[in-house]
Symmetry: C2
Subunit: 186 residues, 2 copies
């Protein structure tokens, strides 16, 4: 168990793990999960739960659960290692693939439930006599927005990652190419 008091004393690798873990919390992912992910992301070889537990100094059980969660996100996967019956794990190392997996997960967890909720509200709102018309139209605008965003993200998440990266690297050139460029002519 590596006793670390000051992050500035640590290796680049541990720093990355530590920062990533911290970022995770900011993000809504818990620290252990994020740290394990970071560790596997930097690792050149598959690791088993015990190695992870030792290297990060977090409880074996905690590692087990975190690994399960990461597998659920498909950010890591099990790999068999010859002559060792313990399960080993490797991370998805393509950063674009990672980003898409995360985006997909977030969409499922954030946009989809929002859509379900707003559908219920709008459905009830349209034939509720007491409701102020302003409130109704705001709900409908929100619904419309969510539908658009939902469709859009579905489409974008099906674009092969190489093209997505191209698109993003083009940046606002896309806009001029589409002849809708121009500056702040809102």
């Amino acid at each position: 168990m590596t006793e670390i008091t000051d992050i500035s004393d640590s290796s680049a690798k541990s720093k990355f793990v530590l920062y990533w873990g911290d970022m995770g919390s900011q993000w809504g992912v818990n620290r252990s999960v994020a740290q394990i992910h970071a560790l596997l992301f930097l690792s050149e070889a598959p690791m088993n739960a015990e190695q992870i537990s030792e290297e990060l100094g977090i409880a074996r059980s905690n590692v087990s659960n975190s690994l399960k969660e990461l597998v659920g996100w498909r950010l890591i996967r099990r790999v068999p290692v010859a002559g060792d019956r313990r399960e080993h794990f490797v991370a998805e190392t393509d950063v674009w693939e990672m980003a898409m997996l995360i985006a997909k997960g977030r969409k499922e967890r954030e946009i989809d439930p929002a859509m379900r909720a707003i559908d219920i509200c709008v459905k009830q709102a349209v034939d509720e006599p007491g409701l102020h018309p302003v409130a109704l139209s705001r709900m409908q605008e929100m619904q419309d927005f969510l539908v658009t965003a939902d469709r859009w993200s579905d489409q974008m998440l099906n674009v092969p990652k190489s093209k997505l990266s191209m698109l993003m690297k083009m940046g606002d050139k896309v806009l001029t190419l589409l002849k809708i460029g121009g500056k702040k002519t809102d």
Copy 2:
């Protein structure tokens, strides 16, 4: 204070507020903040802190802090009401504008700190003798990705919202227009 036990008994408006609050938690925003935002979003007139506190049944102090947070995100703003010295608030009601404000906030809170962290790591990693080359290159790929994503989001967040909505409504038509369409030719 409206005692509500079952969400299905409530008006469309309260349902929206309740769901939105719940969604907020999923999202990383706390419930009070999300509920207040929802309430103001549906409200046809400016509201003061006390009205909000009563209508939602949450403590006055809590409302005060939540309002401050929402103002920070620019999702709501103070408006003066003639003949009343209390502060009143209205929400941004354009959903696209809202979405952009939220995206901007998230970028600042999520991408920017990640970039700062990774810069530190990479800087140290390049001249750290013991570090495995695989780890170094993974860090660099991540950095490269973050820089790209950062630039892209800066550009997109400066596009006027009308054009953004157009772009999203076009969806994958953009790809074919750019002649990079095609299906899964990754």
